[in-house]
């Protein structure tokens, strides 16, 4: 196969033909962010969902919504439990996604088993929602190794701390899959501040030039530690950056679980069908500080935070599903129980004293340790055996 081959009729040309719009209209995000369920939990009339020709979204099915709600409850519980574990000194640090759980859950649920996710350090809930064991996910923050799960087994990249470097890894995974004729889609995640990084640009451009099935998912939570979005970019929106690479961009209410499932679901489907890459910007808010080591009161007002409490993704979804008669007390109790079980698993797993193996320092630097590493390994072993003997 030739990788540069044009798709028979991609989403852009279809939209151009169907709606009489230009390719630029198709690539530019809709004039307003896509929002299906408002902060009060009621479904917006179709005309107010932010859609326009070429940007139309179908309401996800009931089962999908309920599965998402369950993950949303679990995700919130995970965030709160992990923050508590940090306060108790059981974990060194935890960058919480409290308030961003709808983005986290949608990122995992929009993918099929054969797809890949490339998360950041704040995306632990997304990693768990993808099916990675919660305690393995938290190993990075527990401090006994730099990673706890096998990326290849779960098709989840390592939780990356150098910003946007992982987007390029996602591009490479997609490229390799495409060369083999596989229908893998890659969801590559980053935050608003990260869009200033050079690798953000390089990843989007490479994905576009090689026409790869990558969905770039930017969670715009308004802050890069302390620096607000206005200091990162003066573009009309981050989703507008897509058109500069020749790909379609879309903005979505990042606290609206329903809209996220619709927008990301469509992006993944289009990418799988050969549309090339897409960029989705979710408008959300980091409700807590960057990490426990950060003091958010130094750079933002409580009143601003309060505004976002009213837009909470969890209560919004709860109201919506209850009003629709999909969620009753019994079902809610069952979901809460599942969330509590995960919290217990985290408490127990992270309170456990896991012995570290000093020789692991040398074991994995290369497939086979070099003579120099063998020498250093022997040096440490000798040091430890003398310490042991002196006890």
């Amino acid at each position: 196969m030739t990788i540069s081959a044009e798709a028979p009729e991609d989403a852009a040309s279809e939209a151009v033909r169907k709606f009489g719009i230009t390719v630029e209209d198709y690539m530019l995000p809709a004039r307003h962010q896509i929002q299906m369920v408002g902060p009060d939990g009621t479904l917006n009339p179709h005309t107010e969902q932010g859609t326009q020709p070429g940007h139309e979204y179908a309401l996800p099915g009931d089962e999908e919504l309920l599965a998402a709600y369950e993950q949303l409850v679990v995700g919130r519980r995970v965030n709160d439990q992990n923050s508590a574990l940090v306060r108790q000194g059981r974990m060194a640090v935890y960058p919480s996604s409290h308030g961003q759980e709808a983005c986290q859950v949608a990122a995992a649920l929009c993918l099929s088993d054969g797809d890949w996710m490339f998360p950041t350090y704040r995306d632990s809930v997304a990693v768990m929602a993808r099916g990675v064991d919660p305690v393995q996910t938290m190993t990075l923050f527990r401090g006994d190794w730099h990673g706890g799960y096998d990326p290849a087994k779960h098709k989840v990249g390592i939780q990356c701390t150098p910003l946007t470097t992982q987007l390029l890894h996602g591009v490479g995974v997609a490229h390799a899959a495409k060369l083999r004729g596989e229908d893998t889609v890659v969801l590559a995640m980053c935050g608003d501040g990260a869009t200033s990084e050079g690798d953000f640009h390089e990843a989007l451009n490479f994905a576009a030039v090689f026409h790869l099935p990558v969905v770039f998912f930017v969670q715009n939570n308004q802050y890069a530690i302390s620096v607000p979005l206005a200091h990162q970019s003066v573009a009309p929106s981050l989703a507008h950056k897509a058109v500069g690479y020749g790909m379609a961009g879309e903005r979505v209410d990042g606290n609206d679980m329903v809209a996220l499932l619709a927008v990301l679901g469509r992006a993944v489907r289009l990418a799988r069908e050969g549309s090339g890459p897409l960029l989705v910007e979710a408008h959300t808010y980091r409700m807590q500080a960057h990490t426990n080591a950060d003091d958010a009161t130094r750079y933002r007002q409580d009143s601003e935070v309060a505004q976002w409490v009213a837009k909470d993704p969890l209560s919004r979804m709860e109201t919506y599903l209850t009003d629709r008669g999909l969620l009753d007390d019994e079902r809610a109790a069952g979901i809460a129980e599942k969330a509590e079980a995960v919290a217990t698993q985290l408490r127990e797993g992270l309170s456990e004293e896991v012995p570290v193996e000093p020789q692991d320092l040398f074991k994995y630097v290369f497939s086979t340790p070099t003579p120099q590493l063998k020498e250093q390994s022997a040096l440490l072993a000798d040091e430890l055996s003398r310490e042991e003997a002196a006890k």
Binding site: P151, H169, V173, L179
Partner: protein, 370 residues
Amino acid sequence: MSPTITTSSEANGNVSAATARAAAKAAVVAEQTGPQPITLAKALNTAMADAMHADPSVLVFGEDVGMLGGVFRITDGLTKTFGKDRCFDTPLAESGIVGMAVGMAMNGMRPVIEMQFDAFAYPAFEQIVSHVAKMHNRTKGTVKLPMVIRVPYAGGIGGVEHHCDSSEAYYAHTAGLKVFTPATVADGYRMLREAIDSDDPVMFMEPKKLYWSKDQVDLDALRAEHAENTARGTSSEGRAAVARPGTDATLIAYGPSVPTALAAAAAAAEEGRSLEVIDVRSIVPFDDETVCASVRKTGRAVVIAEAHGFASVASEIVARVQERCFHHLAAPIRRVTGFDVPYPAPKLEHYYLPGVDRILDAVDDLQWED
């Protein structure tokens, strides 16, 4: 793998498009056996072509490596032979090239990527140091990155600024990277095949001033050697070579400095001094055994490298040899390296580069009278 492949351009099988004369010439070349005068460039090109024939997961990409064949023509003919999916041009962005290679290696490919010049690899530094070097360790070996980053490096070609850096120390200092640098045509083939075979990432430092130097090399014999090594599970990886045996002092050099060291040894021989020349070949892993065996025998050593001396690979070699051979040394080990200045403009580079006279002066200083 076809045994008749001699170079990618001759091996592309596109004989119908060539003139009858070119086809006849290719056939003659293909039938020739035994040592031929071959450039380092051709050896490297052949190594990539052979690896691509042997394994469909081997891919080559970078800037201008496709139809042009690379600015040094090292990838000449690969796109023609293997198609645009296997050897292709990327957008002009080195971090993108390395980062994409990481993802491809994570997903079953063996990328061999080209950084156009030493200093042009610096935009990719974060990918190399934070991911290429660390992925295996971070994942406890569950993710391997079998990738080769080819870097034309060092000077001596009258190049402009940013085209002549000796950047090997940056990579050698980074745990998790293998760093190879061939100094002979045969090693160009041998070591690049071994780098592509490696399950760990390799920084493959190619001395650009040696690209067009020729040796008598039997490519078929090298192919047979590679096949035999593969079958036996052996290789020359991580081993230094005695480039010229001697008894009075050891010159330790790598990459572009090996021919200079050999020239110095030849000149010293005329003055009655027998110098052994060690070609380091593999900076990481480093062959302490071969280097130290030579210094213990001769009792004197000079380390030669083009890179700046301060905090350099040459300094590391001096430290290692001193720690291991102190009681065999008749004199302090000397370094002949580039000065600690930015790589000079073309008209000044001959003052900067370690040359035969500077090496012989250092040898003269090794306390022969004591």
